[in-house]
């Protein structure tokens, strides 16, 4: 840093009459781009090694090289670097937007094909390979029940855990809990599915089920809560830490016991942030396929009872329809995917808007 500045200083000014450094004229970058495009087209089509995509790629590389060379000659090395990195960063943006835009576009254009009342009012029960109708009613029911139960388990547990870490925990034990909550964030969804399979489906559920292991929506909810728990704990923890200390001290000064202070003063203050975190966790859990596949089994019929028999979910429905041989299956898969994304995005957007209104801020 210091050396480059020193070099810059010692270089004699090119135009002593003005204090301005020499700059590339404004028309130079577009001109270089045009030249690069022409050269690339000539090279690619001349040798016949590719099509328009290759032309664009080669042109982009030529543009970067040309821009660097031109700027280096006129403005110096530092400015040349600046321009090149700037171009690279802009192109990274364009590069990433293309596939993401393609995902969104495909989702919408293919998803609206089956977006009718039938899709939301029927299940896949008795729908054969030649039937064009059939819907995701059972899957939507499954998703809502599983995610709802998972939230019922996770929210109290997660909030209490965060309260312990922030308000009561001291020393190594609290640190260990914090650390392992962070580590738990990275547990793959399939592992949590396998855990519930090994724990609930194979060991516990036979007790209620005449000795036979049984898939159920509740098992899926358990697996989802393993995934949701760290997210809820982390966001609650962050929010509790943001609650101003004077609020707590005021309550203590009035003689309010600590537990009541936490429940009546701290939690309500942090509530919007906690709700945001819970909604984000729910949104993530709703999109999980693997755990549901492993422990709820999926199924074609409507099953309102989460404690018995197979249940499906929207994500699993997408996966199963995508693997189905029927020619009507892909349309169902895309519409279910669109529904799922809509559900997840509504939750996420609502959570983000809520976070924006949060008085504690971030």
């Amino acid at each position: 840093m210091t050396t480059t500045i020193a070099n810059h200083r010692t270089r004699p000014p090119a135009q002593p009459a003005t204090l301005r450094a020499r700059r590339l004229p404004r028309y130079a970058p577009p001109a270089i781009a045009l030249a690069a495009l022409l050269v690339a087209a000539a090279v690619v089509y001349g040798t016949g090694i590719g099509g328009p995509v290759l032309v664009v790629v080669v042109a982009a590389l030529l543009y970067l090289a040309g821009l660097f060379a031109a700027s280096n000659a006129v403005e110096g090395r530092r400015s040349a670097r600046n321009r090149t990195w700037s171009a690279l960063i802009h192109s990274a943006f364009v590069l990433a937007v293309l596939p993401l835009a393609s995902v969104v576009w495909t989702l919408v254009s293919k998803g609206v094909e089956r977006l009718d009342g039938d899709f939301f009012n029927t299940s896949m029960n008795n729908i054969g390979a030649r039937d064009p109708n059939g819907g995701a009613y059972h899957a939507i029911v499954g998703t809502l029940e599983q995610v709802g139960i998972a939230a019922l388990i996770t929210v109290p547990l997660g909030i209490l855990c965060a309260i312990y870490v922030v308000e009561y925990g001291r020393g190594r034990f609290a640190f260990a809990i914090r650390f392992f909550v962070d580590v738990m964030t990275g547990i793959p969804s399939i592992v949590s599915g396998l855990f519930v399979l090994a724990f609930w489906v194979l060991v516990v559920s036979p007790v209620f089920n005449d000795g036979r292991p049984g898939f159920s929506g509740f098992a899926a909810a358990l697996a989802l809560s393993v995934l949701m728990l760290p997210t809820v704990v982390r966001s609650t923890e962050e929010m509790l830490r943001l609650v101003p200390a004077p609020l707590r001290e005021g309550a203590y000064a009035l003689g309010v016991p600590k537990w009541k202070t936490i429940l009546r003063v701290v939690l309500p203050t942090a509530l919007p942030g906690i709700v945001t975190g819970v909604m984000l966790a729910v949104a993530r859990a709703a999109g999980e396929t693997a755990p549901v596949l492993l422990v709820a089994g999926g199924g074609a019929a409507i099953n309102f009872n989460p404690f018995e028999n197979n249940q499906s979910s929207l994500a699993l429905f997408v996966y199963q329809q995508a693997g189905d041989a029927s020619k009507y299956a892909p349309a169902r898969a895309w519409t279910a995917a669109l529904t799922l994304v809509a559900l997840v995005l509504i939750l996420t957007v609502a959570a983000k808007l809520l976070a924006r209104r949060n008085r504690l801020g971030r």
């Binding site: 840093m1 500045i5 090694i49 530092r78 600046n82 700037s86 960063i89 802009h90 990274a92 943006f93 990433a96 596939p99 993401l100 393609s102 995902v103 495909t106 989702l107 547990l157 209490l160 312990y164 308000e167 009561y168 609290a174 809990i177 650390f179 392992f180 962070d182 580590v183 990275g186 547990i187 793959p188 399939i190 592992v191 396998l194 855990f195 399979l197 090994a198 724990f199 060991v203 393993v226 203590y252 000064a253 003689g255 016991p257 600590k258 202070t261 429940l263 984000l280 999109g287 396929t289 693997a290 997408v318 996966y319 995508a322 693997g323 892909p330 995917a337 799922l340 994304v341 996420t348």
Partner: protein
Amino acid sequence: MGETPHRSADAGTGGIRVASSGQQRPAGASARVAESPVSTRTPGGDGLGGGGGLPRARAFGAERAFRGLTLAAGTAVLVIIAAIAVFLIAKAVPALGANTENFWTYEGWSPNDTAPKFGIGTLAFGTVLSSALALLIAVPVALGIALYLSHYAPRRLGTALGFLIDLLAAVPSVVFGLWGRDIFVNPVRDFSAWLNQYFGWIPIFGGDGPFGKSIMLGSLVLAIMVLPIITSLSREVFLQTPTANEEAALALGATRWEMIRTAVLPYGRPGIIAAVMLGLGRALGETIALAMTLGITFGISFNLIENGGNTIAANIANAFGEANDTGRGALIASGLVLFTITLIVNITARAIIYRRREFTESAA
């Protein structure tokens, strides 16, 4: 507070003593709360006025109960992690005992046969290869976008696009898998054929097809999936760079890139590492998108463009349907390996972040 205490101080939960004579109330929760030495003297034992409004012995119970409840919830996290390990091991051991081949080196997966044969080698290799490739592609692009959004784009545009990227991070993986299998496979197949034609002499682009559902497709889809996560996390870190540092660099005559290199990137390094590690964690554990886009073969090969590739998680999703008891145990054993790998990655990442305590709140 000069009186002789009429009860021992350890009657409470460690708070200050309640010293007023005639008080029948223990130095319980309420006193403990007021950790500054405030006298909780009250005019009488009948609970009237001042500290007399403090909860009675019942509060002692409530405080203890609540504290115990939160402690139990905190312990539950440790119990869950331990339980995951215990139950996976318990279910994996019988299957590993029944395995007639070496679990680490055998290339193949047929645990449902009468003489079960299965090995983790190819799967672990595929998992690591696809995740590494995905990160190799995603990290530079993600950092580029994050820098664009935080330091190049106009502020309003940057905020709006950042919001959009956050939304994309929430899109479920099954959607990316579906897109990769139905749409993205076509350009990748064309690109693979092109690579094979002109660069076939490099072993990783060799082979004679069919192309398409390859490690390359899987890694690209994976890269596109982790891109929003890494972007949104590192964008947040870049935005938190102290303005003073940035302005100081600019005031010294630094160009915009020099300012980023000297002020933004060093400040954000722990956050970037955390973001990349989280991306790696997601890539390693990704199941459905890879189950839909990989060709599912068994065999260790560095060839990127021929149909093939498999990962631990994708194999679990694909083989679970027809697994019998031993097959299930074998899948659980492979899940245990995946759990161990991700645990090591995560603990390493957290250790790196925790070493820089000042960043833990913001970056992780």
